[in-house]
């Protein structure tokens, strides 16, 4: 198993390492500085002692000189003094020997002094004591060599003390710099550690954000690469589980949706045959009116009419199911607009006559052919006219107009019926929606006609819309593209043709 500590563990480890590093550096630095101070103090006091002893050696030698001079005059009296001064010199030399420590120069200087002093005793003091005065030049030379040695030792000691102070200073400075460097290093290491920690989170977090955006955008196949500290990799796994479940749900929903579509398609298809047969036989009966009595004829007519309605509903359902399943197909071709409008006008006219309504068909002069499936667009026009016929009151005016608007053909069906409210206009193309207000409630229908009309128009690459002034009437328009080689059709009489409904 890979070592993958949690975010909090990483933070704890980071801080612990940082504090331990800083602690070690600080302790070592302080200890070293303390040691330097102690050593310096030891050295300084030793050198002071040595200087003191050097001065003692000097004074002891002066006493010895004085004693030796006096001995030449009063031998008995000053012999003891001479010996005492020599003893003092020896004691001082011994103590000084202790203070030179490991310093070779100082030890050598002291050695030199002792041997020079010994040479002086042999060459000056002893002859004097024996009563023989040494040669003047010899005495001065020997005395000067001792005095020089004492001065030399004193100078060396001072120099050693200065060196020691300089060493202590430079050691202190170096140690301080080292500690500072170590502290800065520790902080830098901590920064690197923490930025590594942040980086280890950034990449997986970025992937999560990106994944969440894609998922929100509808790409249900989105999965993220799981990684980073435990908390973030857990979040990543949870995200993937969520995406799995979303995708599963979506697939299930699609399956159910498809099942529903298939079901509607199959059921409407299967219903069609028996309805066709019922309608066929009922119509046959109505055509054999002579052989039926009045009631039988009435029954046959009702059966035929109801079968016809049922057939229309089934056809609507089938169209809608096909549209949902993407199986609704159209065969657009260059279609003469006038012929289409007049055919549908003729087909619908009996319904308008029944309600004493006036239907006007008006087609612009020299209108180009429209690129449309004539049966399907005829169906749309018939539906719009049928709605106007059904919803407008008796004696109303209904107009079917076609004109060229830019590079499109616009069809408009308008009436001066009750119209539709703003809320109703928003839903007029919804499935199973039907105008609910007042008197229009009595109107039958599946509420599918306009939904199918919309699908068909859009399948042609066109658009349909409705507008209305409540109480004044409603207008439904749709536009379709002009046929590519859409020359103006010149069938029928040129100019504006208005076919009036028979009154």
């Amino acid at each position: 198993m890979r070592f993958n500590p949690s975010l909090t563990a990483r933070l704890r480890i980071g801080f612990a390492v940082l504090f331990v590093l800083l602690g070690i550096v600080s302790l070592l630095g302080v200890g070293r500085l303390f040691q330097i101070r102690v050593d310096y103090e030891d050295d300084v006091s030793r050198y002071f002692q040595l200087e003191l002893e050097t001065e003692r050696l000097r004074s002891a030698f002066i006493l010895e000189q004085a004693a030796a001079r006096a001995t030449s005059a009063n031998q008995k009296l000053n012999r003891a003094e001479l010996n005492g001064a020599a003893g003092t010199f020896g004691d001082a030399a011994n103590r000084a020997g202790e203070f030179t420590g490991s310093d070779i120069d100082l030890a050598a200087g002291l050695e030199q002094l002792i041997s020079n002093e010994d040479a002086w005793r042999q060459g000056v003091a002893k002859p004097i004591v024996r009563g023989k005065l040494p040669a003047r030049g010899v005495e001065r030379r020997l005395t000067e060599s001792v005095t020089d040695s004492v001065d030399g030792l004193a100078a060396s000691t001072r120099a050693a003390r200065d060196d020691s102070r300089d060493d202590a200073r430079s050691d202190t400075r170096n140690t301080t710099i080292l500690v500072a460097i170590a502290l800065i290093g520790g902080v830098l290491a901590a920064l690197i550690l923490f930025s590594g920690l942040i980086n280890s989170m950034r990449a997986p977090l970025g992937r999560l954000v990106e994944g969440a955006r894609r998922l929100a955008g509808g790409d249900l196949k989105t999965r993220v690469e799981v990684g980073g500290p435990v908390e973030i990799s857990t979040l990543g796994s949870a995200f993937n589980e969520m995406a799995n479940s979303l995708e599963r749900d979506a697939r299930e929903r699609d399956r159910v949706e498809r099942m529903k579509d298939d079901f509607v398609l199959t059921v409407s298809h299967e219903l069609r045959t028996p309805v066709t047969v019922v309608k066929g036989f009922a119509e046959m009966l109505t055509e054999q009116r002579r052989t039926l009595n009045a009631r039988q004829y009435e029954a046959a007519e009702v059966i035929a009419e109801s079968a016809s309605q049922l057939q229309n509903m089934i056809n609507d359902l089938l169209d809608l199911a096909r549209s949902d399943a993407g199986k609704l197909r159209i065969e657009p071709e260059p279609t003469p607009v006038r012929r289409l409008a007049q055919r549908i006008g003729r087909q619908m006219r009996p319904h308008f006559e029944e309600k004493d309504q006036q239907l006007t068909v008006s087609v612009e002069k020299d209108i180009p052919d429209v690129e449309a499936d004539p049966d399907r667009i005829g169906q749309v026009l018939a539906n719009l006219l049928s709605n106007a016929n059904k919803y407008a009151q008796e004696g109303a005016q209904v107009r079917l107009a076609a004109s060229q608007v830019g590079d499109e053909i616009e069809f408009a069906v308008s009436d001066n019926g009750p119209g539709l409210g703003k809320d109703e206009l928003d839903h007029v193309f919804d499935r199973f929606w039907r105008a609910q207000s007042g008197e229009t409630q009595a109107v039958g229908g599946t509420g599918l006609g306009l939904a199918i009309a919309k699908s068909l128009v859009e399948l042609h690459g066109g658009a349909i819309s409705a507008n209305s002034v409540p109480g004044k009437g409603a207008t439904f328009r749709f536009v379709l593209p002009i046929a590519k080689d859409g020359r103006p059709s010149r069938e029928g009489a040129g100019g504006k043709v208005e076919a009036k409904a028979a009154q």
Binding site: T273, P274, V275, V277, E287, N315, L328
Partner: protein, 121 residues
């Protein structure tokens, strides 16, 4: 008298077509599938029908197969194909096989009668 051969696998549809077409004055022979339709044509001998109405989808032998068989054997009798799936690519296929006309199901009587009259003449 114009003779028609009508083939449809739904007996009620077949009966309706037969009665209605008889009412219009046609001599109607019926078949419930493609094989039966071919049998009827053989039985008819020299009294071959003037127009054949075929449902495109039938068990045993479909209308399309009957059409193919007929055209392969050199028959030139006009065939009116009735299909419930005209929204598919079938019309092209049917015309390629030699259907004289295709009509969608459910049909309008006027449309159907008009076509038959046209083909019979």
């Amino acid at each position: 008298m114009t003779r028609l051969l009508v083939a449809d696998d739904s007996e009620t549809v077949l009966l309706m077509l037969q009665r209605r077409l008889e009412m219009e004055g046609y001599d109607v022979v019926t078949a419930t599938d493609g094989l039966e339709a071919l049998d009827r044509l053989k039985e008819a001998g020299p009294r071959q029908p003037d127009v054949i109405l075929l449902d495109a989808m039938m068990p045993n032998m479909s209308g399309l197969e009957v059409l193919e068989e007929l055209r392969n054997s050199g028959s030139k009798i006009p065939v009116l194909m009735i299909s419930a799936h005209l929204d598919a690519q079938e019309p092209d296929q049917m015309r390629k096989l030699g259907a004289t006309y295709c009509i969608p199901k459910p049909f309008e009587w006027d449309d159907l009668l008009g076509r038959i009259e046209e083909l019979a003449s």
